[in-house]
Structure formats: structure tokens, C-alpha cells
Symmetry: C3
Subunit: 201 residues, 3 copies
């Protein structure tokens, strides 16, 4: 039990909330919302694990992830209006989750001896694919592809992590500084309405 593990569970719960809220807005029923919450929370890590051949996929081995998702599910319904009102807090929590999942995803890929660029790609998948699957299942074009500097922030965080590894052996420092890069880039991007569009007209 260390702070990373606790943050991981916390991030899992936050991702579940984002899925459940989306499902409620789309008029899904109670079970549909639970399934969407579940998939949003564990989808990214599952896709990563399946691609690198890590079986059974991670969350199956640890009941606490399931509890975290159930807590997120209950919070979504009990505090539905509050959760929606405090979109800023949700955004902050969500970004912390994304930052953490990027780095944890990279570490899992490193343990499988994969090359740096593949590790970073797996980090991005861990952080973003839960949301991608959520959007596909609710018949939306995934948000990540259009409106937000999202994958880019994960990418920058992943690069930062590998740079830090060259200079520091203090794991906590490496993780926190990489997460901060993700959070700051995403925050600035939203605040300044940065986009990465290409115009062909």
C-alpha cells in the first residue's frame, strides 16, 4: 500500500464516474451505466495488457479496482447534480488520473522489455482508451480525437518520464514530475483553447 497504488484506485474511481455521468446523460439504465463506468475505468489498461500479452488483464487480479469502480458508480448517482456542477474539480481529478495512468502504463510496458516508443504508446493507450471505448459505445466520435490536447499531454508526460530516468533514480520524483507535465499542459490547453488543427482549405 503506497501512495501510487492509492492514487491508482482513486483514478480508477474517477474514470468510472466520468463513464457513469456520460451514460446517465445518454439515458442509459442503471446496469448500462454500471457497464459503461466499468469499461471507462478498466478499458485503457485492458487494451494495453492485451496488446503486450499480460494475462489475465490487470484489474482481474485485484478486487480493490472493482470496489473503486462501485464507489465511483454510487457517487455518480448519489451526487449526480453536484458532480456535474463541479466540473472544474472533475476536470482536475480526471487529469490527475490521466497523468498517473500514462506513467503506470509505461512502467507495465517497461517490465515487458518493450522499446521506449512502444512504452510511451502503451502509456497513452492506458490513459485514453477507456474514454475512447466509452465514446464508441455511446455513439460519439471520441473526444480525444477532436477537441482536446489530450493525447499530446500524455505524450509529453511520457517523454518527460524517460528524460527524468536519465537523471534521477528517485521513482516518486520521476512520476510526480511527469504527471505534472501532463496536468500543466492539459490545463494550459483548456484555459487558452489550444487546438492542433490542420486546415486544408
Amino acid at each position: 500500500m503506497n501512495w501510487i497504488y492509492l492514487l491508482d484506485l482513486f483514478g480508477t474511481g474517477i474514470f468510472a464516474i466520468s463513464g457513469v455521468i456520460t451514460a446517465i446523460e445518454k439515458k442509459f439504465d442503471l446496469v448500462g451505466a454500471l457497464i459503461i463506468g466499468f469499461i471507462t475505468a478498466i478499458g485503457g489498461g485492458s487494451v494495453r495488457d492485451v496488446m503486450i500479452g499480460r494475462f489475465p488483464v490487470g484489474w482481474l487480479n485485484d478486487r480493490n479496482y472493482i470496489f473503486a469502480i462501485l464507489v465511483g458508480y454510487l457517487v455518480s448517482y448519489l451526487f449526480y447534480n453536484s458532480v456535474r456542477k463541479f466540473k472544474i474539480s472533475m476536470f482536475l481529478f480526471d487529469t490527475i488520473g490521466i497523468g498517473l495512468f500514462t506513467i503506470l502504463g509505461i512502467q507495465v510496458a517497461q517490465n515487458y522489455g518493450l522499446r521506449i516508443e512502444v512504452c510511451i504508446f502503451m502509456g497513452i493507450i492506458s490513459a485514453t482508451f477507456g474514454g475512447v471505448i466509452r465514446d464508441v459505445l455511446t455513439n460519439e466520435i471520441p473526444l480525444i480525437f477532436r477537441k482536446e490536447i489530450y493525447a499530446t499531454a500524455c505524450f509529453a508526460g511520457g517523454i518527460t518520464y524517460f528524460i527524468m530516468l536519465q537523471f534521477s533514480s528517485i521513482e516518486n520524483l520521476n512520476i510526480i514530475s511527469s504527471m505534472l507535465v501532463v496536468i500543466v499542459i492539459r490545463y494550459l490547453a483548456i484555459k487558452n483553447k489550444w487546438t492542433l488543427n490542420f486546415s486544408s482549405e
Copy 2:
């Protein structure tokens, strides 16, 4: 060759029919309908197998599943109007398939030493994800999430199965009683238009 195996093949064919009929209604061509039928029939079991690390995924090892799907495909085209007219029979067959796939999915997960709640989750995935993928590929929001007591019925059937295991060692009895729970719940839900909606307004 026992009755469970035969019912499994029968359920596979029924799932294929539900996929092919959907595809025909969406004006897919002959090959598109075959692919949708295939994916509807083997999608749930494949997702389950991939998550728990069972390779190659189950249906690849047994040609009879492919035959069952091809029979379902032919039946869909040859008796297209009849199949659509007898929606009640289709609903019954479909529900039998869902009930059986839930329990068979649980048993596969049990063989991999997974915990009870994960087994139930894998049972639900086995029974429902073929339909989820079918709906995603035909650009619909998956039916399961909105209109039907569907995953809930599978969940109840899974719980029943584990309760039965405590009291009975007669496998057929355990399977049949769990399937009956799925079928009865789904039947009552449709008949009485039960929903599990949450209103935030």
C-alpha cells in the same frame, strides 16, 4: 456430445441469426451480413477469452461453431420473412442462448481460477458482448444499455449459479436452474416493460 454442447451450438446459430437479420435491415451486403453474423455469434466468447488469456480464443478450435454460424446465416436469408414474423420465438431462442452463454462463460472463468465476481462479470460479457459489438458495428447505441433488463438477468443467473453450487453437485440441475432465472427475469421484464431508469430531473 452432450446436451450442453448441442445447446451451445444452437445458441451460436441463434446469435448469428440475430446479427444477420440486423445486417439485412441495415442494407449490408451478403458478405457484410456474414461478418456481422459471425461477430455477433463469437464476439462475447472471444472478448472473454482474450481478457482471461485463453488462446487461441475458443471457437477457433472447433469447426462446429463455424457450421452453426453458417446454418444461422442460411436460415436468415432463406426464411427472412418468417424469422422476422416470429419475433416471439426468436426472443425465446435468444434468451435461452443468453442464459446458457452466461453460465458457460462463468465455467470457463472458473477453470482459470478467477474470483466469483470476475467469473460473473465474464459470464455477462460472454452473453452480451457479441450483441454490443454488433450494435457498435452497425452504428447503434447498444440495446443492452438502454432498453432491456438484459445484463441484469445475466447477473441474476450468475448469482443463482454460485448459490446452487453451494447446495447441489448435480451440474445439469445447477445450469438449468440458473438459465431459468435468466429466462424468467427477461421474460417478465419484457412483458411488464420493466426498466431500470434513473431520473435526474
Copy 3:
């Protein structure tokens, strides 16, 4: 380094271009387009590898595929208008890629000792699922299911490959003739507007 490997990389780049162009037309941002290009290029092979239990999935082991995708990405943006204007060339390249991926997918499945019909199915998946996932992520009904003799061409190419294996041990000849079958069927289908529709009215 042989011609098949080079053609494989070339096909990967072409598939990436088709993904990136679709993404640009859908107003995705630079990173979204990169991700769609990536998934279009490696999606089919990844689904095949996951189903047969080949880990980590193929492209993770070879950096050249990533380079091929990045080249395709750059070409898409640098020559966006030209690429769109020369739809005929793109169609030709795309069809070559589909033909090759069908046969390479079959060979991978053969190495895993799978039966003929499963090998052909895996060939079709290799060739088509990148495009299917691309269409799902951009919220389109996959093209393959409705408008084109596409999977059918792959299927015919796969059959040809296994027939050739009975008569010839010259691998290059077997591959080229099977690819030609795919290319010619798809060309004739587009030219003559063949469809495989079923009318129930």
C-alpha cells in the same frame, strides 16, 4: 529484407494514409489523425494476433512499422490535396495492401497450426479490421459491410492461396497470384459496380 517485407511496410504506410485522410476530413486534430492513422495501419494485424494468441502483437517488435506509419502521416499532410486528387492511385495502393495483408495474415495463422478456414478468416481480418476500427472510431458504418466487394475479394484470394499451395512450392508465385486475384476482383467490382445485395422486398 526481401520484397514481401518491403511491400508489407509499404502497405502499412498506405493504410496509415487512408486513416489520416479520413481523420482530416472529419476535422480531427493532428494527434487524433496520428492515432487514427496508427490504428488503421496496425488494427487488422493486432486483432488477428490477439485472437490467435501471438504476443506481443506483431508490430510492437519491429520499429520499421512505426516509421512506415509516420512516413504515411507526413505524406498525408504534406501532399493532402494531391493524395485526394489521385484517388485512383490510392485505390490501387490500397488494394495491393489488402491483397498482401490477406496472404501474410494467412501465413501467420498457418504458423500457429490453425485450420484452413480459420487461416482464411484471419487473413480477411488482417486485411479489413484496420479499416473497420477506423470507421467505428470516426462514427461511420464500416464501408466494408455495405458498399464494396472487399471481404469477398480477400476471401477469393485466400482460397486461391490454398489452391496454389497444392500445386506449387514457389512461395513468391503463390503470393503474387493470390494477390492478383484480390486486386482483379476488387478492380472489376468497382469498375462494374458489382454489389452483393439481398432484397427482401
